[in-house]
């Protein structure tokens, strides 16, 4: 699934959040978004996810224009800011509820994806009892569970320990192999450089730099 963003502008309450953003995310490519807090990474994710309207500019997903042809990307997994789940449900129950909308997955698939992110599908603890790292892992599981064509992951390594970061890198490498288009924002440039095919640097809502990573520097491929 390819994503083409052209001259995207977004203003909220008179404050420019995104300014003249244009970028291309080819199918099967891992795109990194780097920048300090408030640089617009999360808003850009929200825009691509279809959660916020654009003041001007376009977002085309596989040739279909967001807000004109489609309301949301047709096959997308999202983790934007804090993982959003029902507090009084277990991890497995939460995934079951999310999966019920599309009804693509069996119970075994859900259990498998929970194991994949290092959680226990039989854990009876409610989501509210989860640690931050566990919440983040469940958020990653929810984003990848339906094997979407587009993955939008905003600060996915937040609160993850070193095992969690390694797990995340493995997942992204596999998703990339599968042909999923991944967009990852992260303030840790080393992780982005390890995982991404290209990195856009954002500052104060506009693109401040671009880096196409050579295969030799791409540690995830080695």
């Amino acid at each position: 699934m390819s994503v083409e963003i052209n001259n995207l502008n977004k203003t909220i309450h008179g404050v420019t959040i995104l300014s003249n953003i244009s970028m291309s995310m080819p199918s099967g490519c891992v795109t990194g978004l780097a920048g300090v807090n408030g640089s617009g990474k999360t808003m850009l994710m929200r825009a691509v996810a279809g959660l916020i309207r654009l003041n001007s500019g376009t977002i085309d997903i596989d040739g279909k224009r967001l807000w004109r042809d489609i309301s949301f990307p047709p096959s997308v997994g999202v983790l934007i800011e804090n993982p959003a789940f029902l507090n009084d449900r277990t991890g497995l129950e939460n995934l079951r509820i999310l999966a019920s909308i599309k009804d693509l997955l069996q119970e075994d698939d859900l259990r498998q994806v929970i194991k994949e992110v290092g959680l226990d599908p039989d854990d009876k603890r409610k989501f509210r009892k989860y640690s931050l790292g566990m919440k983040q892992r469940l958020g990653i599981a929810a984003a990848i569970m339906e094997r979407p064509d587009l993955l939008l992951l905003d600060e996915p390594t937040n609160a993850l320990d070193s095992d969690g970061v390694a797990m995340f890198k493995r997942i992204i490498a596999r998703e990339r192999e599968r042909g999923a288009t991944c967009v990852i924002s992260c303030h840790d440039a080393s992780i982005l450089r390890e995982l991404s095919d290209q990195i856009y640097y954002l500052a104060e809502g506009h693109i401040d730099g671009y880096e196409k990573l050579e295969p030799a520097t791409h540690l995830a491929r080695s």
Binding site: I12, R46, A49, G50, L51, I52, R53, I70, S71, F72, P73, P74, V76, V78, A84, F85, L86, D88, N94, I97, L98, S100, I101, K102, A142, E146
Partner: protein
């Protein structure tokens, strides 16, 4: 359509889980109100006024409301708390779940479903179900209590209850059971309208703003008898069933349905155009 039903079933289940404590409060309120009415009838008997009260008296007590402010009258305006409180409680029960859902997992599910409308229509349907359950709880508990204490089975309120509620000078009790039913069926329709209006405002702006609008509508309705104010359609004492210049059930139904359709269409339209961002409540 299947996405709508999936959202709807989830809303019924999750909304119920999150608001269970408030439903218990609602049940308590619907028990306290008839008990309070019964105690006031005892006072009346102590004053030597003997009367057989009916089911209709208990329904009337629950839905009566109050007289509008009249600058020519020497009687001061009184806010009808026993009418006001149960409606505000219903508005509160239906206030938070849609907003929290949109700010939480509902957002992810909305993206997965590919449709904002499915999510929105499910919330509207959820409101209708909750209002019906609320009215049913009120009706059943009031009936249960009234029958337990041995009141007459008639739906017609007696003039003694009007005396008790101090409406004896304005009210016409020459009504039939059909008239009473024609008013009672209006109540859930208008409550749906009120709650959906609140839903639209709370999602497009903030939940507290939605609640403030609901309180304002009810308060202004209690103060003024203007037929366009939704609250007037919820008061028996302002209905043509009991007073000549009241709001007719047909008018109330039309007003309620227009408000429901407007809230669904306008709220849904703006939801499809609005940014889904976390806002302060």
């Amino acid at each position: 359509m299947s996405r709508f039903f999936k959202f709807f079933m989830l809303d019924i289940r999750e909304g119920w889980r999150r608001s269970l404590a408030w439903w218990l409060v609602a049940a308590g309120v619907f028990l306290i109100l008839p008990v309070a009415f019964y105690l006031s009838t005892l006072n009346l008997r102590a004053e030597g006024i003997a009367a057989q009260f009916t089911l209709g008296d208990y329904y009337f007590n629950l839905t009566a409301g109050g007289l509008a402010y009249d600058p020519t009258s020497s009687t001061p305006f009184t806010l009808p708390i026993s009418w006001f409180a149960p409606i505000l409680l219903l508005a509160y029960i239906t206030l938070w779940y849609p907003y929290h859902d949109l700010m939480g997992s509902g957002k992810t599910m909305m993206i997965a479903s590919g449709s904002r409308w499915s999510w929105w229509l499910a919330k509207c349907a959820w409101i209708i179900v909750y209002v019906c359950i609320y009215c049913l709880i009120g009706f059943v508990l009031t009936t249960f209590f009234a029958l337990i204490i041995g009141c007459d089975h008639s739906f017609i309120a007696t003039d003694t209850s009007a005396l008790l509620l101090r409406f004896d000078s304005v009210i016409n009790f020459d009504v039939t059971s059909y008239d009473i039913m024609s008013f009672l069926y209006v109540v859930p329709v208008v409550l749906c309208a009120l709650c959906m209006l609140q839903l639209a405002i709370s999602l497009l702006f903030r939940p507290l703003w939605g609640y403030v609008v609901t309180i304002s509508i009810l308060f202004v309705s209690a103060f003024s008898g203007n037929h366009f104010l939704l609250g007037n359609s919820l008061m028996a004492i302002r209905s043509t069933v009991y007073v000549a210049d009241g709001v007719s059930p047909l008018w109330s139904t039309c007003l309620g349905l227009i408000a429901i359709v407007a809230s669904v269409v306008i709220g849904g339209y703006f939801l499809t155009k609005t940014d889904i961002l976390e806002k302060e409540a």
